[in-house]
Subunit: 308 residues, 2 copies
Amino acid sequence: MKKIKIKVPATVANLVCGFDILGMAIHEPYDEMELKLLDTPEIIIKHEDDFGLPEDPSQNVAGVVLQNIQKHFQLTQGFEVTIRKHIKPGSGLGSSAASAAGAAFGANVLLGNSLSDEEMIHFAMFGEELASGVRHADNIAPCIFGGITLVKSSSPIDIIPLSAPDLFVVAVHPQVEVKTSDARQILKKNVLLKDAVEQWGNIAGLVAGILKNDIPLIGRSLHDVIVEPVRSILIPKFDEIKIKSLEAGALGGGISGSGPSIFMLAEKKETAEHIARLMKSVYDEIEIESFVYVSKINPAGIEIIEEQ
Amino acid sequence: MKKIKIKVPATVANLVCGFDILGMAIHEPYDEMELKLLDTPEIIIKHEDDFGLPEDPSQNVAGVVLQNIQKHFQLTQGFEVTIRKHIKPGSGLGSSAASAAGAAFGANVLLGNSLSDEEMIHFAMFGEELASGVRHADNIAPCIFGGITLVKSSSPIDIIPLSAPDLFVVAVHPQVEVKTSDARQILKKNVLLKDAVEQWGNIAGLVAGILKNDIPLIGRSLHDVIVEPVRSILIPKFDEIKIKSLEAGALGGGISGSGPSIFMLAEKKETAEHIARLMKSVYDEIEIESFVYVSKINPAGIEIIEEQ
């Protein structure tokens, strides 16, 4: 294999009550990436999008992943990567994870599938570290493996693929900035034991609902008493979006990653599309531009579109 | 139906990381209960054991359950209950839950199965309230339904039966007293968010392991960073028992309920029996009497032995 073209999906981390442990792949938006194996040891990054991301490999999320793979395996070959990013950086939809996971996944294919799943995650986390300062896998894992994944631990890497319930996901990305570092700093270091117990009851319910394909149980479990009450104040109109979505028939939902995107789950396409319109109109009213995506939970993760 | 004889199993609540939400039924020890429907509205409680438990219905765990059922359904009939208790009160093996659950289950059968599952739990919790001051269902639910159950919420009652992995359970009950109220008071009101995240990663892993029947995942998830470090100091030789059990091949384990019993899970009968001997010898050495039980996870819960 010398060249590969892949479709790399957006991801929703945290999944309401699953702060820092759960993540879910969706179909829309997604990035396109093309990776070539080079005979020379250079790493070349090209961005065919307008986000102004650095193309110096050591400053680029995909670049650092490939640098680390190259170094670890003492490769004499290099990589040329072309990225057409559609997942906006800073959206809370796993934009950096997509670049990092795409680089690790693509390199693995180009190198004859010589990396284990854990190694792909390990190298992709260098990209997350560059982007946010934290080595975390809650977007990378669902991006690569698809469906909903549990990151039981990122050191050592212990990832449990759950499954992909047949549900629609609506995500709205209001064009406001929420820095991951701010979203992290605003969290309290201590939580009440009684709140933690309520939270882990919901997480246990959510995991059981996903694995038993019990949709009402998923709905009953989508409550976050710890992170959402604090972080949602950083997102304009969060409460209104949530209340209107639930009234319109959403199963539940909350902040995507550390925001500002908000996501909702729904059983029917019409419900999802109705929620999408409601979300858009809430932001239109206060003149905040927003992008809305409706798709299903993506069971496949990264997909190969072309190989040569 | 006028008379029923039932076998009511012991239960292990908390299940290491699942504080206040998970519980598991075992086969040994168990209580025997006989319930008769009376034409007169009396409630008669007889204990055929040596634990000195009160037989005044309003002071007896089974009694208050039956009083509440009688009152709620405005019954003109009464109940006579004979209890042969083998699950020692204060063992941490769900002794009060067994009496409460047995009373609710038995009354339901005698009344022609007119109670819903939620009603059985609801009435049984009056017994737990009398015994410990807290309306909780984490022993009652597995006692009635068998296997491992998730109490997502006890108000409103939301119980999710998980399943019953094919595993052996060893439980040791050292003859020391740990009051539930002390075990509760010793807990800190606040926990670190990072510890809570680690705990809910383990809970999510445990629930996934149970439902996917992934035994190594169950083992990797049996860690409690919040409750066990605090409560285990109330139980003599806890650390030694745990270390020796793990060395002997236990999957994992911890405090049963609020103690003093300790339980361990094992895949093989020989491993379980070896662990049982180790546990006993640890307590023999310091001259604390102990009872050891080896059985499997009980998938059935309460069983009817005889009906007339």
